[in-house]
């Protein structure tokens, strides 16, 4: 199975960079920039310094023009770096959206009046299709819109949406009836009932989301922005307060000059949390993009962040915790029969059985005793059916069967057997208690033994659950198995809890129960009967192969239809929040050094004693202020890769994680600017 598109792109792709550069200048437009209030203030500050620069050129401002000019340039760069980071994050999404859009151009549809093959159709454009219209899609036609297959079955290439080149079967009825507009039928014909109006289809929503056009700020993002705006306001007042205080101090000390507007504005920009404010939009967009690289489409940013908060994961046993199919792992004889005899009978009962379980019996018989058989020409194959619940084969003189214990006993009794091996019940019970499925094998009226069919737990899944547990996330296994089997598998996979014999209403009840206790619940599902539970869950991941109701009830869609993805989604959700938190801490911690750079420099002419606060021994007041401004600006592009890739995620308990991040971004955020500003000051010293 090969993948195309959706490959992670390098951050420093040249065409992307060029596009982002152009977009970053367009984003300077105040009518759009005001959505990021902190950077909007920085833009105003840049304008003011541009004014003081013009004034110093004309001589009405006493400050040297090289100083006001350089400050102005770096303040403008601060804004541009910020819009550039956002444009870069959006650019990556746009490139992907463009490739999706290609698959949507000018599709025509064959509209039918009734859902029957062989009738006349009218050809219409995809844009004219409305909900509940019926269309005929034949081989090599592109499906014109999202819908449900109402008649027929076809092989569909969905690579335009999923990047998966292997075609999939879509058929009416059952859980595989949903088709997506923009995908192509390869073989056979189907009739599709359209379920979305043009502009509202899955592909349209996907493009909108990836482009970031319809991105709404998440509640967490808004709350953080509140904090950033408040800090910005306070620092604005701090700077405004310096002006009258310095005017008074000049009078009182009888020397020096009040702090100039340029310096006040520079101080304001340095103190305002520009680093995080500049990177905030990019972090959210890049998070969605990272999920998309994993072939997961989140229908809202809120859903991803909710994933980061999840306390309980409901995981389907089949496909997530265990490999989908049970495998035969051993033969257990009863009634004193020999094992080879049992293996032969089991092989005969399975040789015509094309189910994965049946084939695994054939494989085991070959592995253990080197037995191989073809289906005899005169054989009468008995397929599994719901009444007898047995499968096997009838030969001329023997008939072989395998099935559940009670069914097989019923069969041999019907064949005229009176005694059942005494140890059968014990063996069957033992296997069942071990979480496996016992399949009893008989030849005619003789019960030979039991096949031990086991659910194979995926390798490495225990470690995954252990990590989740250390993050405080409970895992609950959902299965249709009986409680005995479920308990054994739950123990082997080391999940925290399980729900056996799960019915849709049971799942819904379980989710509500957890939610009432204050937990956030995530689940995956694909069937129509999962839809109510998906709608109830806080984070609902639907498989792309799932039904339309399931996909509509979900807020995240997994294009690969791999249920283990839930774990990746949780990770990305946490990463987004962590990146925001870490950069906020870094940004605020930076202020200490900036104060020590700018305050002594700004007030030195009034009180030369304040020179002792110049702990970094910066060369001159001008270079000190300039160094702080430059540091404040260049830290933004330096942190762009971090913002786009996200903080590295390590599963560990909350407190350890806090210590770890506090050390890097808190302590680091205090020290880094001292070092950085000093280095920049030394560089400036070489030129001035």
């Amino acid at each position: 199975m090969s993948k195309h598109s959706q490959q992670p792109q390098s951050i420093f792709d040249t065409t992307l960079l060029k596009g982002a550069l152009f977009d970053s200048l367009k984003k300077l437009d105040p009518s759009t920039l005001w959505r990021n209030p902190v950077m909007f203030c920085v833009e105003i500050a840049s304008l003011i310094t541009l004014g003081t620069f013009v004034l110093s050129l004309s001589g009405s401002n006493k400050e040297p023009a090289w100083f006001t000019g350089t400050v102005s340039i770096w303040l403008w760069l601060t804004v541009i770096f910020s819009t550039f980071a956002e444009a870069l994050a959006e650019g990556r999404g746009k490139a992907r959206a463009a490739s999706l859009r290609k698959s949507r151009t000018d599709v025509t549809a064959k509209r039918l009046e009734t859902a029957e093959f062989g009738l006349n159709y009218t050809t219409v454009g995809a844009s004219q299709l409305r909900k509940d219209d019926l269309i005929l899609v034949e081989a090599n036609d592109m499906i014109a819109g999202d819908g449900d297959v109402v008649a027929g079955a076809a092989l569909v290439n969905e690579s335009a949406v999923t990047g998966e080149s292997a075609p999939v079967v879509r058929e009416s009825g059952g859980d595989r009836s949903a088709v997506t507009g923009g995908t192509t039928v390869i073989a056979n014909s189907i009739i599709v009932r359209i379920t979305a109006n043009p502009g509202e289809t899955f592909l349209d929503r996907m493009i909108g989301l990836i482009e970031g056009a319809k991105r709404r700020k998440t509640p967490n993002e808004v709350a953080l922005e509140v904090l950033l705006i408040a800090l910005t306001l306070v620092f604005l007042l701090v700077c405004a307060n310096i002006s009258p205080l310095s005017i008074y101090s000049v009078k009182a000390a009888g020397q020096g000059t009040p702090v100039s507007l340029t310096i006040l504005v520079a101080l304001f920009v340095c103190l305002a949390p520009t680093t995080i404010a500049a990177l905030l939009p990019a972090i959210g967009i890049a998070g969605m993009d990272r999920l998309f690289q994993k072939n997961v489409i989140a229908l809202s940013g809120r859903a991803i962040e909710a994933a980061g908060d999840v306390n309980v994961l409901l995981l389907d046993k089949t496909g997530t915790i265990t490999h989908g199919n049970r495998e035969a792992v051993s033969f257990v004889t009863v009634g004193g029969h020999n094992e080879r005899e049992l293996a032969e009978a089991a092989l005969m009962a399975s040789v015509a059985d094309e189910t994965p379980e049946g084939r695994s019996v054939v494989v085991l018989a070959k592995q253990k005793y080197g037995l191989t058989r073809e289906v005899p020409a005169d054989a009468e194959v008995v397929e599994f059916n719901a009444d007898t619940r047995l499968s096997g084969i009838n030969l001329e003189n023997n008939s072989y069967r395998k099935g559940a214990s009670d069914s097989t006993i019923a069969f041999v009794k019907k064949m005229g057997c009176i005694t059942i091996p005494a140890d059968l019940a014990e063996v069957v019970d033992k296997i069942a208690r071990g979480g496996a499925t016992p399949l009893v094998v008989c030849r005619d009226c003789e019960i030979l033994g039991v096949i031990n069919l086991k659910d194979i737990v995926k390798a490495g899944i225990q470690e995954r659950f252990l990590q989740l547990r250390s993050m405080g996330i409970r895992t609950v296994m959902i299965t249709g198995d009986n409680p005995l089997t479920a308990a054994a598998i739950a123990a082997e996979a080391q999940v925290d809890d399980f729900l056996a014999q799960a019915k849709p209403e049971e799942k819904l009840r379980l989710i509500r129960e957890y939610q009432d206790q204050g937990f956030m619940v995530a689940m995956t599902g694909d069937g129509t009967n999962d839809a109510p539970a998906l709608a109830q869950a806080d984070v609902a991941v639907a498989m792309n192969t799932g039904t339309q109701p399931a996909r509509e009830a979900a807020n995240i869609i997994d294009l690969d239809s791999n249920p283990t993805k839930l774990l990746d989604i949780v990770e990305v959700g946490k990463q987004i929040l962590m990146t925001r938190g870490n950069l906020t801490t870094f940004s605020i911690s930076n202020d200490i050094a900036k104060y020590f750079a700018i305050i002594p420099a700004a007030l030195l002419s009034i009180y030369p004693q304040l020179g002792v606060l110049n702990v970094m021994h910066l060369a001159s007041p001008f270079s000190a202020i300039l160094s702080a401004v430059i540091f404040n600006a260049i830290i933004i592009p330096m942190l762009v890769p971090l913002a786009l890739k996200g903080t590295k995620f390590r599963p560990m308990p909350a407190e350890k994680l806090l210590i770890h991040n506090l050390f890097i971004y808190g302590v680091g955020g205090i020290i880094a600017p001292f070092v950085g500003i000093k280095i920049i000051d030394m560089c400036i010293g070489m030129f001035v």
């Binding site: 509140v226 205080l245 005017i247 547990r469 009180y607 606060l613 506090l662």
Partner: protein, 257 residues
């Protein structure tokens, strides 16, 4: 101790305006304890403290009386700081922040910011206005850096303490009476109302049981972080003003001028 006094041949600690029964250490403790709780009792003339000595009670007020909690307001400023600290640290561990089992969202952010910053904003705005208002400047007994400290203290105390002033500042003039009453009104009631609103908002929220993914707020790492937040947001806001007031005064004193 004080190089200026040493020049005059005076040795020993600065006992000016202090209760001789308690001595320097006892008086300092008394000052810090009473100012930190805004109880209003004094045994020391704050105006006569050394510059750094005066800066300590001033800083206690400016950071929102978080050390003990003011009389009548208790630890609400500290709780608001804790909510801000929880918010950022919650993000840092990748979860929607929660404090005492309650989710911290947009409303709580607005309200805790009001609690923390109202008094500080009043001080910044009013002291700024004072320094360029001739009648306000004329009230100072000691113009210069010390006078600036006197105004800062007066504004801080009116916005968030018992409304006292260093003795050197004649606060009984129209300017201080009018702006001071504004500071008292807003500096007290805005945080009080905000904190009540926050209590209502938190009470309505569902309780989330703690898990390994929940950040414990009663252990050392969070305490360190909380102190850092208070220092950076609460104290650094006043770094420039303090630099022009007590800090420069202290440096001048050490310089022997």
């Amino acid at each position: 101790m004080n190089p200026l006094l040493a020049k005059m041949g005076v040795s020993g600690v600065n006992m000016e305006g202090k209760d001789v029964r308690f001595g320097l250490a006892g008086s300092s403790l008394f000052t810090v304890a009473t100012t930190g709780t805004s109880c209003g009792a004094v045994n020391t003339m704050l105006d006569s403290l050394t510059p750094i000595g005066g800066m300590i009670p001033l800083s206690l007020i400016l950071t929102g009386e978080v050390v003990f909690g003011g009389v009548g307001s208790g630890l609400y400023t500290m709780l608001a700081f804790a909510i801000i600290a929880v918010f950022v640290s919650g993000l840092m561990i990748g979860r929607t922040p929660e404090y005492l089992g309650k989710k911290i969202e947009v409303a709580e952010m607005w309200l805790s910011i009001l609690v923390i910053l109202t008094a500080g904003v009043m001080v910044l705005v009013l002291s700024g206005i004072a320094m360029i208002t001739p009648s306000a400047v004329a009230s100072m007994a000691n113009p210069g850096a010390h006078g600036l400290s006197e105004v800062l203290y007066a504004m801080a105390s009116m916005a968030n303490n018992n409304g006292s002033a260093f003795a050197g500042l004649n606060a009984n003039v129209n300017f201080y009476n009018l702006l001071g009453s504004l500071a008292m009104l807003l500096g007290r009631y805005v945080p009080a109302i905000a904190v009540l609103a926050m209590a209502g908002s938190l009470a309505e929220k569902k309780y989330i049981p703690p898990s390994l993914g929940t950040l414990p707020t009663d252990r050392a790492p969070f305490v360190v972080w909380l102190v850092l937040v208070i220092v950076i947001i609460g104290a650094l806001t006043f770094f420039p003003a303090l630099a022009l007031g007590p800090i420069v005064e202290h440096l001048t004193m050490l310089g022997g001028n």
